[in-house]
Amino acid sequence: MPTKGKVKGIVSNLVTVSVDGAVSQNEICFIELGSEKLMAEVLKVNGSDVFVQVFESTRGLKIDNEVTFEGHMLEVILGPGLLSKNFDGLQNDLNKLTGIFLKRGERNFPLDEDKKWNFKPIAQVGDEVEAASWLGEVDENHQPHKIMVPFVMEGSYKVKSIAPAGEYTISETIAIITDAHGKDFEINMIQKWPVKKAINVHAEKPRPYKLLETGVRVIDTANPIVEGGTGFIPGAFGTGKTVLQHAISKQAEADIVIMAACGERANEVVELFVEFPELKDPHTGRFLMERTIIVANTSNMPVAAREASVYTAMTIAEYYRAMGLRVLLMADSTSRWAQALREMSNRMEELPGQDAFPMDLSAIIANFYSRSGFVKLKNKQTGSITFIGTVSPAGGNLKEPVTESTKKVARCYFGLEQARADSKRYPAINPIESYSKYIEYPEFDEYISERISPQWISMVNDMRTLLQRGKEVQEQINILGDDGVPVDYHITFWKSELIDFVILQQDAFDDIDAVTPIERQHYMLKLIMDICKSDFNFVNFTDVMDYFKRIINVCKQMNYSEFHSQAFESYHNELQNILAERKIKQ
């Protein structure tokens, strides 16, 4: 008998229910309103009064309406067919919903029940298996989608039978496994998991070290993120968070990309819907949409489901990681999620923390980021979830609770700067304040030496030093005046500008410049750093600017040309001629 209750109080989407039986924290319930059923989640229990947050509008809800508790927490349904779907925060397939407007209380099954999948067994009869062991696989959009022992099954089992290769729907039994007491369990391709619990089915979680190529130079070269790494992008509005995030999601070398559009603009999600089915993955040549899942809970969709949307996305990511795949999870924006928590905490009349956010905000964020990572599975395979979240700091002030809490847990910081955005220096990642902790990992050094070059890290460090130095001399020039400093200062400043214009700035809307493979990044960094290490002959500071502007112009034309094409090489020759004019030969 499920627990029942009746509505006792309503304030916006916080509803008080008096219940007749047991309920658990975070349990899901449905509130009846005419023919509609509104989904809600338990937030607090006080005697027989249960406080629930309703995931939809409570307009018209009345006292004494019936409430039925479901006996489980908010769950997602996992199985083949998740890829290339557009879900809302509660995992409804948006394409299956009817009508132009979202209807209250409309829900659907997220997977395709009739589709037949081409199943190939992996496990054999007699094999010892446990939760997450691979029983077989189906081809889901060219990804080897593993059919696993459901994560909720504890202990070890023996495979009693396994279906032969063939076509099966998700609900057909593909294996029978037996526990120690001889009890049989039929396994099909569907399993469920509560979103707020991490799926921990791996053997170990080593430090990540493999570069995750994004094609964005200021990330790959200057602030690299790794497979299984974490990063965050704080930035005031208009600094290009979303453009940057979309660029990363289009270009990153990942098997699966999950985009959680959390409380942001609907038109930005539409951009994903429109572009991803047409764009090709630069690494495999297949359509991006084939490897992508979009979880969209835009700012005008119910606030309570915003929080759920990031957990839904993370749980799906963990599911694919357990198959030994490389997953990239992007959440835009985690601040909206934090605001949803704040609205609710406020309505529950909890004592507020800083800026009226709930006191445990920091813990919630840390807990969420820690669900990503690089793992070794029990079968020795590896998988990863790389997580990049955006943060929208109120008033562009980075000393606010969401930014500060995130900074404590994320290992890469891609800080977007208003001044850079204002002068159209995109991507507006501040080159001096941003960092990647991974660059200090010896594992990363070892990996990158082999992948690119043993000199890579020292070259990158030299570049960072020069940028820093450039900023310092610029300040001095601003104080002392152009002719109040030695000519050398101008040369240093313009060398840092050269790095800025050619390496850091990148045109996300140019077909060629938008994506720079790591080999090309290596070539250009070496070229630019060689120029920066050279000495030049100048008497007059006014000549320095003109000369370096010419160099910058030619290098930018190189960036706009196909790598090693005729145009590229002829610009390269032009560059050598310009350099020969003033370079001091050693």
Partner: protein
């Protein structure tokens, strides 16, 4: 609004605050409307049999034995083609001395569009103002506010934009408009002979502030009628959203909610998003474009209202008085149209994106030169040229009195580049330099 026969009348109020009153009642739905001694009110909280009502006009003069009748519905608007050309108050009642309109009664503040049913905006809205068309191109289905100090001519610019844009309907949502501004809009629309394309919902400074909260939903319900039922292109003007947010703060304060930044309610972002996200391009051709006004205090955009707005809207337009030319310009640094990428260089000439960026970059160089000048340093030849360029650029392109088409704007920009700079100084793709630079020099 009239009461129906046999409706239950309550006559015992238990609590009265400045904005709300409470009573014991049963069978009441959340968000339902009620009349308290004839004053319109809405259910905002139900706790057991105690119902709290927000009285839009304020509770002045309400006695504890007031007559309360529940209307059994959320706020509604009657929609039909008769809306066109009419003026209404925040409750959707006519204020132009003409009869009530007939039509289908729809609840305001209706559901959101399923994001997968939206179409990507792709139609350019031409305004003739280069500060907008060249640097911050507007697209139908976009939502964008003017960020302006109260002394700037934002209502005039907005009226201009509305009249020049090719739309089927213009819906004005006026919140806390001064009576003078209300008459200004009325006159402008009347003189332009477009009154039959306009629907206005107006709350003036003379009306109670809490009533304003209904204006955006009223305006957008009318907009959805024309955009969805009639497949029309609708432009919604909302002025001033700062006064709307202030009204939200008043209500949340009186409901004893914990304020967050700048005394604004913690739900400000969601409250504003619900309004602005009604901007949409429908696949069947109809669209809703929202141009709003958010007044700033001393240009401070870090205040919670402009800050939250900026995160929701697709850019913002900044007005600023340029003392060098003595005109109001659209500030190229702080203004932004996020959707411009969908049309510039696609619906406009190919060189548009690069010309736009180069001009703004050179304008930034001029700003640096100006700082140098102010600090008493000598200017280089380049600095001098940048400053001269900036003045011309401001006068011929950024000023709000410009009215030319986009191609003419681009040609003007190339002329200015050639007048003050060498090709390597503008940093534009070689193929465009080859095509457009020479052409200009031969003129």
């Amino acid at each position: 609004m009239t009461t129906k026969a046999f409706q239950k009348i309550y006559t015992k109020i238990t609590k009265i605050t400045k904005a709300t009153c409470s009573l014991h009642a049963s069978g009441i739905g959340n968000d339902e409307l009620a009349l308290v001694n004839g004053k319109l009110a809405q259910v905002v909280k139900i706790l057991g049999d105690e119902v709290t009502l927000q009285v839009f006009e304020g509770t002045e003069g309400i006695p504890t034995d007031a007559e309360i009748v529940f209307l059994g519905k959320a706020p509604t608007l009657k929609v039909s083609d008769q809306l066109a050309g009419r003026f209404f108050n925040a409750f959707g009642d006519p204020i132009d001395d003409r009869p009530e309109i007939e039509g289908e009664e729809r609840e305001i503040g209706g559901p959101s569009v399923n994001p997968v049913r939206r179409k990507q905006p792709s139609e350019l809205i031409a305004t003739g103002i280069a500060g907008i068309d060249l640097n911050n191109t507007l697209v139908s289905g976009q939502k964008i506010p003017f960020f302006a100090d109260p002394d700037q001519p934002y209502n005039e610019v907005m009226a201009n934009v509305a009249l020049r844009a090719k739309t089927d309907k213009i819906i004005l949502g006026g919140m806390g408009l001064t009576n003078d501004d209300y008459l200004y809009f009325k006159n402008v629309f009347n003189n332009a002979g477009v009154l039959d394309r306009i629907v206005s919902f107006v709350n003036t400074t003379e009306d109670p502030p809490v009533e304003r909260l209904l204006i955006p939903d009223m305006a957008l319900t009318a907009a959805e009628y024309f955009a969805v039922d009639k497949n029309e292109k609708v432009l919604v003007l909302l002025t001033d959203m700062t006064l709307y947010a202030d009204a939200l703060a008043i209500v949340s304060n009186r409901m004893d909610q914990i304020p967050s930044k700048d005394s604004m309610p913690g739900s400000l972002y969601s409250d504003l998003a619900k309004i602005y996200e009604k901007a949409v391009q429908f696949p069947a051709g109809g669209s809703i474009t929202i141009i709003a006004v958010t007044t700033l205090s001393g240009g401070d955009i870090t205040h919670a209202i402009p800050d939250n707005t900026g995160y929701i809207t697709e850019g913002q337009l900044f007005l600023r008085r340029d003392s060098d030319i003595g005109k109001v310009i659209v500030d190229p640094f702080r203004s932004l149209s996020r959707l411009k990428q969908l049309v510039i260089g696609i619906k406009t000439r190919e060189d548009h994106p690069q010309v736009m960026n180069a001009a703004v970059r050179l304008y930034a160089d001029a700003a640096n030169a100006k700082t140098k000048l102010e600090n008493g340093f000598d200017l280089t030849d380049y600095d001098e040229r940048a400053l001269a360029f900036a003045k011309d650029y401001s006068d011929r392109l950024l000023a709000i009195d410009v009215n030319i088409d986009t191609t003419a704007m681009l040609d003007t920009a190339w002329k200015l580049f050639a007048k003050y700079f060498s090709p390597t100084e503008v940093n534009i793709k070689q193929e465009f330099i080859d095509k457009y630079w020479k052409q200009k020099q031969h003129e």
